[in-house]
């Protein structure tokens, strides 16, 4: 096999694994979300389908496919149909730059376990998130329903506001690591866990906190779920959607959540690095490292669910105040401090 064919084949395989894992995590998350919320609220949650209700996602999937697909008579049809596709595509695209494992040797060739190992990888992730808002805007507008329109108006304002803080809070990591290639950023966080960017490796604790708050807003999760506030807007931008189109919005939201968690883990929490030296080599080490990455992402997803069922929702003016008067100045401060730290050689790799 020539190098080029091998590159194509390995990329397709990695793509399959990444999308499979992502979609699998979406299915499992819909179950985890309901079971955990039940635990938090002293309820049972779905426990009828299969052991512990584990097959609930399958039942839901069948239900979504079987249901009638309704397009409102007054809807703008092409955009109405396109919107969920754009939402899903953009949230899947961002995952392609995230390294989920180290460089693996297979058939005598070195394969980095990341779908797209490119120089501006972080920018690709941000570009995909920036386009993600179109799915919501298009869905809300084309439904021709006041609740949908209000939801998508809120969400576009929210996402534009918090995108800025999200980008700026990552600047510290980029300054310290001196690269925009996610794989390299993870490689530079090797060794003990205090070498991770969030700890002594990058002094990025503030940046990490800001980034986490920003991704909660970017993924429209509580306490920032105003675009789909049930009491006010029924279901926000996807009120008029049914069947698989609704399911696609749903999948896009959970995929975006997983991608955001994976991005946070990659940038701040050492990605696939174990954090402690282990006396293994070769396959065992590689599997452990992929497992470490998965475990960190799972912890993050748990945090998402935990916060959702613990905190109440912000009011709209509070949301804007936090974004523009709280997060933005703090993330600018973080950029300044990180730049000074790098300039005086306190950190830097």
């Amino acid at each position: 096999m020539s190098d080029f064919t091998f590159l194509i084949v390995s990329t397709v395989v990695k793509l399959g694994v990444a999308i499979g894992a992502l979609m699998g995590s979406v299915a499992v998350m819909t179950w985890v979300e309901r079971r955990l919320s039940a635990v938090i609220q002293f309820r049972w949650g779905p426990n009828r389908v299969g052991p512990f209700g584990l097959f609930q996602p399958v039942a839901d999937g069948v239900k979504f496919i079987m249901k009638e697909d309704i397009i409102p008579a007054s809807a703008h049809k092409p955009i109405f149909i396109l919107a969920p596709a754009i939402a899903l595509i953009t949230s899947l695209t961002a995952f392609s730059v995230i390294p989920f494992g180290p460089i693996v040797e297979l058939f005598g060739r070195k394969i980095p376990l990341v779908v797209v190992n490119m120089d501006g990888g972080i920018l690709l992730a941000f570009a995909a998130t920036a386009l993600g808002v179109y799915g919501i805007v298009m869905g809300g507008w084309s439904s021709r329903s006041k609740y949908s329109l209000m939801g998508s108006l809120r969400s576009s304002a929210q996402m534009v506001s918090y995108e800025l803080s999200m980008g700026l809070s990552v600047m510290g990591v980029i300054l310290v690591n001196g690269t925009l290639r996610p794989f390299q950023i993870v490689e530079q966080q090797a060794g003990w866990f205090w070498n991770w960017n969030v700890f002594l490796g990058g002094w990025q604790l503030l940046g990490f906190i800001l980034f986490v708050v920003a991704i909660f807003a970017e993924t429209n999760r509580l306490p920032f779920d105003l675009p789909e506030a049930e009491q006010e807007l029924v279901a926000g931008y996807h009120t008029e959607y049914s069947s698989m189109k609704f399911a696609m919005f749903f999948m896009a939201e959970y995929a975006a959540m997983t991608t955001a968690s994976a991005l946070a883990v990659t940038l701040f929490l050492g990605g696939w690095q174990l954090g402690i030296p282990v006396p293994f080599e070769g396959w065992v080490l590689w599997i452990l490292q992929v497992g470490a990455f998965a475990a960190k992402v799972v912890c993050f997803l748990f945090l998402f669910v935990w916060v959702r069922w613990t905190l109440p929702r912000f009011r709209y003016d509070q949301l804007m105040n936090i974004g523009w008067k709280g997060l933005l100045p703090l993330s600018l401060l973080n950029v300044l401090v990180s730049a000074l730290l790098v300039a005086f050689d306190v950190v830097g790799r």
Binding site: H76, I79, M118, D119, G120, L123, L124, F126, A127, A130, L131, V133, Y134, V137, M138, W141, L149, S152, L153, S156, A157, M159, V160, E163, G167, L180
Partner: protein, 163 residues
């Protein structure tokens, strides 16, 4: 391969530009403008200018167009109605269009390929661009930054009379 990608992008860009011109629904126009900007970013990637391509998507297709769509949706305009065109305008428009097309065709006919040669392997990456901006183009860069800050403060002052 590159040729194929170019033609796919070219068809997408021209088609979305035509949609902007022919549709009367503002939101559809704005969305296809965003699509057009994103496909222009594709050309930048094809030319190896990775960073510019990403900026095109993040800044233009992402931030600016979302704001424009936001404002259009907020104003909630109906179908656009063009004012009645004057007689002379109706006659002159095709003439000028034809003249412009002839000039464009003549320029394209006369021009020769630029022959820039192979770009260096790290062309268009963030590191190279940053180094150029902060060494060779340091003063222009700083002046533009100052200008943008001044414009921003001016916009805030104009929009908000009492601060």
């Amino acid at each position: 391969m590159e040729m194929l990608a170019f033609f796919v992008l070219a068809v997408l860009a021209v088609a979305s530009a035509l949609v902007i011109l022919t549709r009367r629904n503002e939101v559809v126009c704005a969305l296809s403008l965003a699509f057009n900007l994103a496909s222009i970013a594709g050309f930048y990637f094809l030319l190896g200018a990775q960073f510019i391509g990403f900026l095109q998507i993040i800044v233009y297709a992402g931030a600016i167009m979302v704001l424009i769509v936001f404002v259009i949706m907020l104003l909630n305009l109906g179908e656009e109605r063009y004012p009645e065109r004057g007689r002379i305008q109706g006659w002159l428009a095709p003439v000028f269009a034809l003249v412009f097309a002839v000039i464009l065709a003549a320029v394209l006919w006369k021009s020769e390929p630029l022959g820039l040669g192979e770009p260096p392997s790290d062309f268009g990456t963030v590191a190279v661009l940053g180094r150029e901006l902060f060494s060779r183009f340091f003063y222009p860069f700083e002046v533009i930054s100052l200008l943008l800050v001044a414009a921003m403060i001016g916009a805030v002052l104009l929009a908000k009379r009492r601060i």
